[in-house]
Amino acid sequence: MKRITCAVVLATVAVLVWVATPAVSQPKVVRIGDLGSKVGVFEGYGKYQTMGIQMAVEELNAKGGVLGHRIEVISEDDETKPAPAVRKAEKLILQDDVKLLVGVVSSGATMAVMDVTKKHKTIHWNSVSCAEFMRTTKFHKYYFSNQPDSRMQANGLAKYIIDRMGKRVYIFYTDYAMGQSDGRQFKTALERLGGEVVGVAGAPLDTKDFSPWFGAINTANPEVLFLAFAGTDSLRLMTQLHSFGMTRKYRLAGIDCFLLQQDLASIAEPMEGFVQLNHFSAYNPDKNMQAFNARFKKRFGVDANIAAGAYDAVHFWAAAVEKAQSFDPDRVAEAHEGMCRDDTHIGRQCIRKEDHQVVMDMHLYQVKGGKNLPIARIAGTDSIGEPMVGRDPVEGFTWEIKKKN
């Protein structure tokens, strides 16, 4: 027994020493971290994020890297949960010494990772999460986002819903950071524009059967059903709404990450007519977008999707590093501010100084035959809204339904 214990203790110490030996870093290599969901409800986003990063890094390395350093990507899986996301972020920053961290997918996990990047002063880009808190209450100087958050989506989409789809809206959202944020923003925007929110309901993440909520929706009798869900929840919800005949009964609108383009084909019929605001669609005839998609498709053999925004994030960061002539996080963060790029998939994109949100044009899309087709272009300045760092963007908000007589 004694000998075994000693042996195991020794082995453990040996393992610890082995793992503790710092990886000898090659001269002239800079690492960046790709943290995303590779498993679970959001893995579709994580995989495209990785591809976007990879494509940008290959382009940059072909031109000699950044500041003369070859870029190396280290990918980690966050299991779509805050705890592993934080652990992996710490690993990327403290062990691999990444100068840029891109991620993560789920808004809840992103906010947890923001605490890490703030503490360890690491440039943090996010291209998928759309909760509003990241550029308001949770904002810190190293954080940047080129994903239109819920406020931008509400600003761009609410007017179209009221003008063209109907004034009586039911908001059905997924009950965690992202869905709550979307629900709050849309309710505020719709009511401000004179619409009537006839009901709101939240269903937990990973709900299997949504039919218990359908009775309440039917009773409220809306014209428009606004859906704030993402990933596999959306797919299941649409399947069930369709089987209950509710996709034909109501007009449907939703958030940009409701369903990824590659999932649309299999659920084309229920999704017919669905309206959302988006910064990318492979079926947009816009020539910049087609050019980007053609390059993406040539490299990976599939159409790009919104998560490929990570591609722009890496280019922005590389440009900021060149501008700052340093990897120092404070100087790189400052170099980001106000920076613009003209050669993106949507033309000009600029990083707003105040809340580090990328301002870009977006399109309203409607699903026709399983394809997201553009119906209107929304200028970036119309949707972005004022910067509200440190403030609650919908102060005094309640879920209460105001009865109109």
Binding site: T12, P82, Q95
Partner: protein, 312 residues
């Protein structure tokens, strides 16, 4: 026995002094030791008393939430957090152990599982406590006025002190008369009853000690991670505690510590390279149950476990 434990803890205490050790490994070591400590507390139940709890994640998570709620509201003292966690976990554990220890074997496992699931569901769906996002962005806790537990090194020493204390408590428990009664219950519950022992009271006490130790570990976790989420109390987490105990060895205390640490490091290292490491972990668990039912370190003591099934 004691000098070896002291030597081991002294060795662990020098870890932060290793030259060139990236701070990340201190945090990984924190997780490993914390997981090990939880596995050790579970061993008190599984290995010594013969009760398998599938609900330890609830004790862990409740402790974590106790700390997180206090830190979020500006109560930064570590002692207040630990105290609150002990009270909350203690109350919950008293209820669970009262009902669960009334039943044996598989019923005990399932009852602890269901109770834990109630707690998980409550926190996941209660927006006051952050719903499924949990409570995030917590400030650093204070050891006492002006001394914050902010660096990885201080956090590491915090968990090391906890592990040492928990180990000492467990060691005292299992070598005491009380511990011998627990083993007697495991070996043959009816005989223990005929000998005049109030079996349920002993089981409840073992359950409470194990739960409080696990709850304390939970209370320490947000001090390192700055958040508490409902995932911490999901039943699969309880399953991972059990896996750690099985890897380490039933009824050895030291074994589960190593098992828990090994499991944590394996998961961290393997998940960077392969995404199918759960197949390996599951497979290893199956093989251990089939061929080394007392766990890897428990082999030499297998003799004492031949009767385990009757206690169950």
């Amino acid at each position: 026995m004691a000098w070896r434990a002291l030597a081991a803890f002294a060795a662990l205490a020098t870890l932060p002094a290793l030259p060139g050790l990236p701070t990340y490994y201190l945090l990984l070591a924190f997780d490993a030791l914390l997981f090990g400590a939880i596995a050790m507390s579970l061993d008190l139940l599984m290995g010594y008393t013969g009760l398998v709890s599938f609900g330890h994640a609830a004790f862990y998570g409740l402790g974590a939430y106790a700390t997180a709620i206090l830190l979020e509201r500006g109560v930064l003292s570590v002692w207040a957090c630990l105290g609150a966690a002990l009270v909350v976990v203690g109350l919950y554990a008293a209820i669970v152990s009262y009902f669960a220890t009334a039943r044996r074997g598989i019923y005990f496992a399932l009852l602890t599982l269901i109770f834990a699931e109630v707690v998980y569901t409550f926190f996941r769906y209660t927006q006051t406590f952050g719903g499924s996002d949990g409570i995030q962005g917590l400030p650093d806790a204070l050891l006492w006025r002006g001394v914050a537990i902010d660096t990885p090194r201080r956090k590491y020493y915090l968990v090391l002190v906890y592990l040492a204390a928990a180990y000492a408590i467990c060691r005292v428990v299992v070598t005491s008369h009380f511990g011998r009664v627990l083993v007697a219950i495991r070996e043959n519950e009816d005989r223990a009853r005929f000998l005049g022992y109030n079996v349920q009271r002993y089981k409840m006490a073992a359950c409470m000690i194990s739960a409080l130790l696990t709850g304390t570990a939970g209370a320490i976790y947000p001090i390192r991670s700055a958040f508490a989420t409902p995932d911490l109390m999901l039943w699969t987490e309880s399953g991972e505690f059990i896996i750690s105990v099985m890897i380490g060895g039933l009824g050895t205390l030291v074994g589960p510590i190593l098992g828990g640490a090994f499991f944590t490091i394996l998961r961290d290292k393997a998940s960077s390279f392969v995404d199918w490491y759960f197949i390996v972990i599951g497979g290893v668990l199956v093989l251990i149950v089939l061929f080394m039912p007392a766990g890897l370190l428990g082999v030499r003591r297998l003799v004492g476990f031949r009767q385990w099934r009757h206690g169950a």
